[in-house]
Symmetry: C2
Subunit: 437 residues, 2 copies
């Protein structure tokens, strides 16, 4: 009954080491449970002599990825090197060689997903990429399989643990971004060069993958409106709290009907205020969470560890065992949302509508609120609430406004006009507020 | 590319109607996304003339389930009648006829799961039962597939929306069980005969399914220690709140090593106090949530709608499309945890250890606490905190104690002794406190 499936790993970094260790430690359990015996027969690394903390037998290690991709004793190529260009060519070579591919590489999928999926389908091989979004949290499988009969209405969530850790600490401690980032780096929760995470690029890659899967709409990474958290001011976290909101970096995708009836999808990554009592607001620290709303299932939330050696390797192995189960069958070519709505398109951010939080720094004198609300009114933006702090004639004070639903273009145009007012001392700060779900 | 898969429904009640409607409404979307075109070719109902709110073509409806099971134009039998005896025989007939089976029937799985899985494996057909636990929440798939490489350490959650609705309302309103139950019945959140839900039997069925899948340990429904919520007193919800806890009906399964090194699994359903800041404490109303801890993935929580026409039908269709994908391949025979640990066993409740909340009704006179704590001490139960309410000499007052970890047998024995004290007016109330995860 047992079927042996041979793995060729590209990369033995954090996740690769995790995969190797789990295969080693849980081999018997996996075999009893699934009937599949896993063997790592090849592993390509840059420097085969480096100590990786795992005892890889001689003959398995190589410094040539192409040997892994072409090896006759490899059934599944497991790509864990990251980056997109070299990974792309190795993955395509693997596919052309008839190997199934499992990858944790979000940049690869976000940038070359269409090409790789198409080639995998042509070659009749499976492509697993659960680990590319939210680590150990089974978001991909849920969208691709569990909700296959649902029209997805929205997908949004916290998909970058570094940013969530930083925002959680900023809220808890009242600290500034730079100080918390430095702590996070010291604690290993942020990279030495954190820009990929804190600028929102990592979240945008993941969102592009989710959008493709959930809505079947072609999406280029540049289509995703992306703002990071480096500019987040602790005072906005505090004012947000006064309104009953928590600030999160959310990756948001929502389906809407375009003016011509075609499917349009909002796809955006930005700091977002969410009501404190919503499940996603309560996701703290390095945890990830994704909320999915489907026309049948209603709202669903998946919550767990979005990164790290073991959680990510757990997802890679889930894919490996899925592929192993169907490896010899004609069911191998993975389906996914790709192509389900080829005439859909991403809605430009200017056309998105949202609730807004805006903070102005204004001179503390009569008439300022009237000027600002007058401009907002002319752009059809109605005010929900106002907090005017302090009374300090002649000095500047914060003026915080939340609005009802308004169109992004109108809001941006109004902001430009408001920023020109003589009594407005600094450019207004705009944060979108999420009220759905 | 398109493959047509023909469904034979057993039952067109709430869930069956949902399946029929989703197939009808989302047929094109499903086909574009998965390459599978679904057709309901047969549907067995008790009374074919009854109006069900769906327009089923003539020739599809029959009053004979055996016609569906045996029909040559049915690829997948979808069992949605509930109950266990008749359903068992129809499902086994379907399996013997080489049909794949998808079911939402937790009682069937909990009572006859081993037999049905074995027969399905022998026949080489797939068995899907995602909808049997937590409705639209993909708990089964996550355990069976995503976490296939994990050693599961614990699974616990809220798997009965009726009980969670009642407990949420009792906490919010301070109302008594009977009053909230009557409201829940009026609102359609509880059955006319609610005993299956409120006595914990429904949760126990679901837990048995989860235990089998997560740990591979054989489990009979009588092995699951089951307590319902009918006896929950609002005062314990209130005292719990003072300690920072929320009262939930949890289904709990935990792996532990037995004295001989064999795997032992705790399997119990009972009202449980959980710390307010834990995600599961914040799951309100009819929502379900299941937390899974795996050795690699860490902790994972899945949250969503555990019942209702559409969410449950969504899960049924997820299974149908999974089966459709592998229907013609040798990958069809579903694997699951069953058999992974055949020498494991369920730990008797007396051997379980837990934290406890106990409330006594005692005469308000000096020395009572000393007597009670003396007895607890002799049973090796150490007190964590005490709340002694009111001062009303000569009358009875509540005395609430929380304990450190203790063994259930010791706690029960101590309770018997304490209840015999002359100054103890009513039997002590015991509620387990969950601190893991």
């Amino acid at each position: 009954m047992t079927k042996t499936v041979r793995l060729g790993l590209l990369g033995l970094g954090t996740v690769g080491r995790g995969v190797y260790r789990i295969v080693d430690e849980n081999r018997e359990l996996i075999e009893r449970r699934t009937g599949v015996r896993l063997e790592v027969t090849r592993a390509a690394v840059r420097d085969p002599d480096k100590d990786r903390g795992v005892a890889v037998p001689a003959g398995v290690l190589t410094d040539d990825p192409r040997q892994v991709v072409a090896a006759p004793d490899v059934d599944i190529v497991v790509e864990l090197v990251g980056g997109s260009d070299a990974a792309r060519s190795w993955v395509l070579e693997a596919v052309d060689a008839g190997k199934h591919v499992v990858t944790a590489n979000k940049a690869l999928l976000a940038e070359h997903g269409d090409e790789i999926r198409r080639r995998a389908a042509e070659a009749g091989v499976a492509l697993g990429y659960e680990a590319s979004v939210a680590g150990g949290v089974p978001v991909i499988k849920t969208l691709r399989e569990s909700l296959a009969a649902n029209r997805v209405l929205s997908v949004y969530g916290i998909v970058n643990g570094t940013c969530n850790y930083i925002l959680t600490r900023m809220r808890e401690d009242g600290s500034a971004f730079d100080a918390v980032l430095a702590d996070a780096q010291a604690a290993g929760y942020a990279e030495a060069d954190p820009s990929f995470d804190v600028d929102g690029v990592d979240s945008a890659h993941k969102l592009a993958i989710l959008v493709n899967l959930a809505f079947g709409v072609p999406v280029a990474i540049d289509d995703v409106h992306t703002e990071g958290i480096a500019g987040v001011n602790p005072s906005d976290i505090e004012f947000g709290r006064e309104f009953g909101y928590t600030l999160k970096l959310l990756a948001i995708a929502k389906a809407a009907a375009g003016p011509d009836g075609r499917l349009e999808v909002e796809a955006r990554v930005h700091p977002t205020l969410v009501a404190d009592d919503r499940p996603i607001a309560q996701v703290g620290g390095v945890y990830n969470a994704v909320q999915i709303v489907g026309d049948s299932v209603g709202d669903l939330m998946l919550y767990g560890r979005g990164a790290g050696e073991r959680p990510t390797a757990s997802a890679v192995l889930g894919d490996i065992l899925d592929v192993a189960r169907i490896a010899d069958s004609d069911a191998a070519a993975a389906y996914d949302g790709g192509g389900a709505a080829p005439d859909g398109r991403i809605r430009p951010i200017a056309e998105v509508s949202s609730l807004y939080y805006i903070r102005f720094t204004v001179e503390d004198k009569p008439g300022v609120l009237s000027q600002i609300s007058g401009i907002l009114g002319r752009y059809d933006i109605s005010i929900e609430s106002v907090i005017q702090k302090g009374r300090d004639a002649g000095k500047t004070v914060p003026l915080v406004i939340t609005t009802h639903r308004a169109r992004e273009r109108d809001m941006q145009d109004a902001l430009v006009e408001i920023d020109r007012l003589p009594s407005v001392a600094e450019p207004g700060v705009l944060i979108r507020v999420e009220d759905d779900g």
